[in-house]
Every structure is written in structure tokens, then in C-alpha cells.
Amino acid sequence: MTAARRVLLEGADVQRALTRIAHELLEANKGPDDLVLLGIPTRGVPLAQRLAARIAEVEGAHVPVGSLDVTMYRDDLRRNPTRGLLPTELPAGGVDDKVVVLVDDVLYSGRTVRAALDALSDLGRPRAVRLAVLVDRGHRELPIRADHVGKNLPTSSAERVSVLLAERDGRDAVEISTPAPAAGGER
């Protein structure tokens, strides 16, 4: 499949967005106390780690980070080939009575977040749950919104948004691509 590809955020844009989200988190929570960052694999996990690092730089405080795999809670498993599972690792203190911030790269239909809320409720009872995403591209299918957004990107549902992170992809960027029409394609 050939695709026209555009870069929407460069590496520096990604860094700035994360720094801003880190500040917003501290402001909304009135400090780092009781915050727990849970990244949704795969790219939500390094994002959560970066946010924790920013908070450490700003406040000198250690915010616990974990990962929350939502695969087994998804409502679209039967629409796709079977997926592998990724680790769910909670910080030692757990999530009970904490302010859990779910961190993901892209917010789209909202179904991943719905699954994450279900998964979280099986793991404990947080005092509050917030949602931080690097990109919100719209097209919500559920009544879900993000508390902290790096960048709002109006997109067409035919387009594909790719978040690249240095930890996994060698560089930071957000790209958008438009799949070529299927006719005459090389798929």
C-alpha cells in the first residue's frame, strides 16, 4: 500500500507537548502526591515514563509508573486477528485511592480507554482517573474525552496517524498518511 505521508509534529514539538502535559498534571493534582501514571502499551508506556521524568525535573518528586495492557478487555477482539498480550505492571503501591493517569499516544474512537477503565476496575479502586494523550484525532464513538491533550489533530477517518517515539522507533514524530485508493494498489 502506498501512502502519502506528512509530518505533523517534529521531535521538538513532541517534547514541548509532553512538558506542557506534565505541568498540567501537577497543576490539576495540586502537586505530585498520589499520582500514578499507567501507560497503555505499546507507546503509552514510554510516554508515561517521560511524563514521570518531566515531573521529577520540575518537582523533584518520584511519581510511580506502570503499564496497563487492555487487550483482554477490548470489545473488538473478534474483528481482528488474535493479538499478543503485553505486560500489565502496577507500581508497588497499587492503584487504590490513587489518582491514576492513563497515558496513551492517540485518542480516536475511545474504545481503548473504555477497555482501560474496565481493566483498571479489576485491579483496584482509584480515587480518580484522568486521561492524557499525545494526540486527539477526533471521531469518538463513546462518551469519552481526554483531560490532557498534547495536540488536537482534525483528521479524516481514512487517514492513518502514526506516533513515533525514540524508545521504539529511533526518533520522535507524529505523522499522518493517506492510504492510496485500493484500485491499482500493490497490496
Binding site: M72, G84, L107, Y108, R111
Partner: protein, 330 residues
């Protein structure tokens, strides 16, 4: 993966993937709330033509922890015991809407027939067929070995196979579906297997299997420096004429092929002792070997649930491969 009929259905990456998924399943089973919604609305039928409470219970727990509906269909007391054919049973289960059939049958190959004779569209999991295979047992054995022998230091074994692990399997290989599945799977995972048995309890043709064969347990334990020893169940009645006359007496079998305290002491420090159960204590394994610190026999049972959850998940959770959907929210 459409069915799991034989350990040979899995290549190296496929087998490691099952073990990795099982690892995540095991993690969920250490939580307070063990039930996952993953297979809600799916129906798993446990079709047991042979009694096996432990295997059936293990599959039942696995299916229920994933929120599947479970129907236990045992031959005893059903129309099966009145002569209903396997085909008619399969058609019945199909009509009930079974998404997966977990089948235990005394006839080798019965799961193959269920999967391929055109009687039903359900996914089929072989839970032990005759003297053929028992692939989920081999998976849970490999899982147990990997945790003990490959997770040291790092704490987890994700992504790893059993390359270089040395395994001795001793006992009635001829009649053992566990041995067949283990030889195939362990070989796929890179382990080195030595089968030890009296020649009468090895099948003609064992020379074509991907393993070593020996008749001398002491030599295999001392010379082979195994990382794991698995003892297989031996039925004492196999020594009689009607049982086939495979060995002279239980005492002689135990003396030559039983894993006792002396032989357990020949093992390297880190080596583990395994048994698929149920055990004949005093025949193929002595009580102190079975109950020693290096024994994983009880742990194997628990690992069975995680492995079977992984198998059911991989067989049932996904749909037909669909065109990739656009969007990064996946």
C-alpha cells in the same frame, strides 16, 4: 492457530508466543479479581470420552476465567455411552453453537477427525487422544521448565525458548501421549531430549524421533547432566500377559527405571523433577523425589490453567483476519 491437535502444529515462534501469552495469563491469576471478560459470549465444550477430572477441571477453570460459557459433555451417562457416534456428537455440539471443543478420547486421532472430517466448524483442542498426543500438557511442561530454567536473574522468561536445555523423560513412552507431545515441542523449542525406557516400552520407529534414546537411567542422569527429569506414569498391569507383558514385575521396573532418592541425588543442583500426574508413588517415582524441593509436580497443575487460558485465548479471541483499519488508536 485454527486448532491445537498436535505439538507439531506449533513452530518455534508460535510455541514461544503461547508461552508468553500464558505468562500474562498467569499474572492475571495472581490478582484478587481473576476473571477476565475476554471470551464473553463464546462457548467452550469439554467433550470427555475418558475420565480425567484433573484435565477437564483445568480446562474448565481456564475457560471460566476468560468468561466463556462452559458445557461439560462427558461420555458417561450421555447418549455417547449408548453408542452414539463421534460424528453425531460433533453435529450435536455444532448445533449448540460450540466455538471450541476440548476433546479427550481413547482413540488416537479422534480430535483430527473432529477438526477435519467436515462435521463441525468449531476450533478443536486435543486434551489427550489415545496414545497419540496431549499438546497442552507439553506446553505446560515447557512453561514450567522455562520459568525454572530460563527466568533466573531477569525474573521473567518472555520471548525465550528452551535452547540447550537437557531433558530426560523416563517411563512408558510406548503408551504415553505426554511423551510424544513433549518430544515434539521440546525439540521445537531447542531443548535436547533423552528418552529412557526398557526397549519393550518404546515404539518401533522411535529412532526417527528428534531425540536420543537410552535404556539406562543411571547413565542418562550421570552422563547427561539433565536440567529436568520427567517421569511418566507406568501402569502396573502392563507386566501381565493380558496387559502385554512389557516388564517382569513392578519391583524390577522400579529398580531399573524408577526415580528414587539415590537417583534424584545424581541430578545437578538446579535440576527439576516433573511428572504429568497422576503418579504411582513407589513405582515410577518415590515419595521423596516427588515431594522434594526440586519437584515441580504441584506447580505444573497450576501452570496448566494459565497455559490453557492462553490456548483458548489464541484460538477464540480473534476473528477472521480482516483488512487493516486505519487509525492509530489500536
Amino acid at each position: 492457530m485454527r486448532h491445537l491437535l498436535s505439538a507439531a502444529d506449533l513452530d518455534r515462534d508460535g510455541a514461544v508466543h503461547v508461552l508468553d501469552v500464558a505468562e500474562q495469563m498467569a499474572a492475571t491469576q495472581r490478582r484478587e479479581i481473576k476473571k477476565l471478560p475476554t471470551l464473553r459470549g463464546r462457548t467452550v465444550v469439554n467433550l470427555f470420552f475418558e475420565d480425567s477430572t484433573r484435565t477437564r477441571t483445568s480446562f474448565e477453570a481456564a475457560a471460566k476465567r476468560l468468561s466463556a460459557d462452559v458445557i461439560n459433555f462427558s461420555a458417561k451417562g450421555s447418549s455417547v455411552s449408548k453408542g452414539e457416534s463421534l460424528k453425531d456428537t460433533a453435529l450435536t455440539l455444532e448445533a449448540m453453537g460450540a466455538d471450541a471443543v476440548v476433546v479427550r478420547h481413547s482413540a488416537s486421532g479422534a480430535p483430527h477427525r473432529l477438526a477435519h472430517a467436515g462435521w463441525s466448524r468449531s476450533a478443536v483442542v486435543n486434551a489427550g487422544d489415545g496414545t497419540h498426543e496431549h499438546p497442552t500438557q507439553a506446553l505446560l511442561d515447557a512453561y514450567t521448565m522455562r520459568r525454572h530454567l530460563r527466568a533466573a536473574g531477569s525474573g521473567h522468561a518472555l520471548g525465550r525458548d528452551l535452547h540447550g536445555v537437557r531433558v530426560v523423560i523416563v517411563g512408558d513412552v510406548l503408551h504415553s501421549r505426554v511423551a510424544r507431545s513433549n518430544v515434539l515441542l521440546l525439540h521445537t523449542l531447542g531443548a535436547h531430549v533423552t528418552l529412557v525406557a526398557p526397549p519393550t516400552l518404546l515404539p518401533v520407529g522411535v529412532g526417527t524421533w528428534p531425540c536420543e534414546v537410552s535404556h539406562d537411567l543411571d547413565a542418562a542422569l550421570t552422563g547427561g547432566a539433565p536440567d529436568a527429569v520427567m517421569t511418566l506414569r507406568v501402569q502396573a498391569e502392563r507386566m501381565t500377559t493380558t496387559g502385554g507383558g512389557f516388564f517382569p514385575s513392578a519391583r524390577e521396573y522400579s529398580r531399573r527405571y524408577g526415580l528414587d532418592r539415590r537417583r534424584a541425588a545424581l541430578l545437578p543442583e538446579h535440576a527439576i523433577v516433573m511428572h504429568p500426574g497422576p503418579m504411582n508413588r513407589g513405582l515410577e517415582i518415590s515419595a521423596d523425589a516427588a515431594d522434594s524441593a526440586r519437584s515441580t509436580i504441584v506447580e505444573q497443575v497450576g501452570n496448566g490453567v494459565a497455559v490453557r487460558m492462553a490456548v483458548l485465548y489464541l484460538l477464540l479471541a480473534g476473528g477472521e483476519p480482516a483488512a487493516p483499519t486505519p487509525g492509530g488508536d489500536s
